[in-house]
Symmetry: C2
Subunit: 420 residues, 2 copies
């Protein structure tokens, strides 16, 4: 009647996949904005611990072993199920088979936990006592708080003030897991004090505040929830599990779809399938983004800052410009001017595709999915649903029995106001 | 490292278990308050459709086949996993093995969906167009809205005003699934108009409003989320699945635990194990309730109304008295003066035990569980966690390798304020 493809823990991959080892081209390195030369490791070590920086630049090892300590924590919620969208297929009357990988069962409700646990662990073994980060909608801040608690490391979060006020439940989860949340802009930092009281804030300002704290301290580091190579690396657990699950079904995917903000859930989903593409298999990858923040579909491919204030190294990526202010849309997690350098390079080499979806189309897809499949998706994840529906309807037109796979990166239980 | 016991859909039981067929005693019948004689079927048919009334009084058939239409909907989220609480065991350093059945993955986050789908289906095939119900915390209203949408039946919910104001997310879920929510007391009904504007309301008043609507209409019925025999019957899918899952592990439970409000999740969990107890097996069942609403531990066993206004038949049950007003505690779903007649009779015959837990002890258990097991439990469900922890610590004292099983009836993502 309905297919759930569950893996036992013993069947879970015990490695992450490092796509850099397989790419037929080199990524352009991050540049130091002061010199326009590649960033020196010393400067980066002020911000990230050595093991994560090693992962960031490793283009040799195909697989990176997941430490036992992290596997133990993955076991709390992984492997996650691959679910056949039988009800959606039936409603669409499509010959396509649609499968979704559901990451919303993680302790804080999204895929972010996969890298949060890894980052907290590597910081811990590097002697770091405190992590600083920023959060917009709150998914990343929640995940890092949980991971910090698990590995005994303090987590301090600058949360965009408008979200801080609008999403009290997210703040409560961070507090439940001992995360310290400060609405940004705050009075704690020079970067924050520039703004008037009760300024609504932005991700850019929050990043600046968190970075300022790290740069002034000796025992703390910065943690980023997306964009960077090591973050995408940790997320490949998603795609590696999907691979095993499809093998169990003895089927080959024709299209793999994910929503795209900074690129971590999309990258985590598709990167393990890149070798198939490179070896000539007929497989497509589609990144789905909001029309209101069309980084991949309308951005330029060039060097740009990762934040608004210009604290970060310059990254080669698709960007709408660091000063781009997206309209206030509900998918807070996709409201980012840039994109992961790995995803950007793949797009530039035509190895992946990108499509933009309107807010209306996305919410329609989300409502339909809630009613048919019984899971209320996060607004971010709903872009992937919209993408899958589009592909399924194309398959119907062409009368082809395509295999469509997408990642449902999180649930939308904290975003219900958006549905009304 | 961690045990998830998953069943395939094909392994899911295709029947409900009817404990009435096995009990060595008869239940006292519901009485008509006007005559003090057993309720006439005609009067009950005004409120419930015939197939549900048949289930209510059936004490012959041991198993009731689940219709295909309901199985199809169960397939959206069932079978649910049985999870070994490895992290909790380790923390408690107990020789006990603790397993929990997790019902929070249902479309609206609790076990309520199991009976909501069944009730919507039987009403639908009986020609009912509209269902009326009340809801306190909102879990039942959400579940019935979802079920109504699935079977094409209108759902109207009177929601206690104070919860309506405090839990906007719950209201949003009901609306998402097309449920019509009215804060109670309202101006729609005679029962509601008695109260001043913006009265905070109570479950009793909300029931009266819903009942009044049903009694005045020809095409609508009433749906109840707990207490009645047919509701407990539908919930036995939980315990039947647990049985299969324990068989897979080849282990026998020593203690089975559930939280207790009206009795539906507790009953659904333990009733399938009653035959084992009756045949002499050494197995204990513990109902966990809040100290602030101690129906089973401090109530009297006698006939009482199911609601405050006195609209319902008289039920033989443990009760704190229909006018009992529990203090405002967070576990809204457990704030009920009475208990299911089946559970009450089992307690009266010493086949089950009941224990009360303080709010402080319960929240402590909930926080601990969130941190260790990565699931944020509903305040209601946390009483079962507190009960399981107590038993696990007893096992430690006695140095016995007990098997403890409890049901985690729902997640607490809409109750996060309570944690802070």
């Amino acid at each position: 009647m309905r297919e759930f493809v569950n893996l036992k823990f013993e069947e879970m991959p015990k490695v992450w996949y490092n796509v850099l080892s397989d790419l037929p081209f080199k990524l352009d390195p991050p540049l130091d904005p002061e010199t326009n030369n590649p960033m020196s490791p010393e400067k980066l070590l002020k911000v990230f611990p050595a093991p994560l920086l090693e992962q960031e630049v490793n283009d040799v090892d195909r697989f990176i072993e997941i430490p036992q300590e992290i596997l133990r924590e993955y076991a709390v919620y992984r492997p996650t199920p691959l679910i056949r969208a039988n009800f959606l297929e039936e409603y669409l009357q499509t010959p396509a088979k649609i499968y979704y990988k559901y990451e919303g069962q993680s302790p804080t409700g999204s895929h972010k936990t996969n890298t949060a646990l890894a980052q907290a662990y590597y910081n811990k073994i590097s002697g770091v006592k405190k992590l600083y980060t920023e959060t917009g909608a709150g998914q990343w801040g929640s995940a890092l708080s949980y991971a910090g608690l698990k590995f005994g490391i303090d987590v301090n979060i600058y949360m965009v003030r408008v979200s801080f006020n609008q999403k009290p439940a997210r703040k409560s989860i961070m507090n439940l897991f001992n995360g310290k949340v400060t609405p940004s802009p705050s009075k704690n930092t020079k970067s924050g004090r520039k703004y008037e009281e009760n300024h609504p804030g932005s991700l850019g300002i929050a990043i600046s505040e968190a970075m300022e704290e790290v740069l002034q301290s000796n025992d703390s580091k910065y943690a980023l929830g997306s964009v960077l190579n090591h973050v995408l690396l940790h997320q490949t657990i998603i795609g590696l599990e999907i691979k095993k699950q499809l093998e169990k079904l003895n089927i080959q995917p024709d299209v793999i779809i994910g929503c795209h903000g900074g690129g971590s859930n999309f990258g985590g989903t598709i990167l393990p399938f890149i070798p198939d593409k490179l070896s000539g298999k007929n497989i497509r990858f589609i990144a789905c983004e909001p029309e209101s923040c069309p980084t991949l579909t309308k951005g330029e491919y060039r060097y740009d800052f990762g934040d608004t204030a210009g604290f970060t190294p310059l990254l080669k990526m698709y960007t709408l410009g660091k000063d781009f202010v997206p309209p206030s849309i509900h998918a807070g997690g996709l409201r980012y001017h840039g994109a992961a350098p790995i995803i950007s390079a793949l797009l530039n080499h035509n190895l992946i595709e990108a499509k933009a979806f309107s807010q209306e189309e996305t919410f329609k897809a989300a409502r339909l999915f809630s009613k048919l499949e019984g899971i209320i998706p996060a607004p971010e994840s709903s872009h992937a649903i919209a993408g899958a529906i589009k592909e399924a309807l194309n398959a119907k037109k062409e009368n082809k029995e395509k295999i469509i796979v997408f990642t449902l990166s999180g649930h939308g239980l904290f975003d219900l106001n958006a549905y009304i």
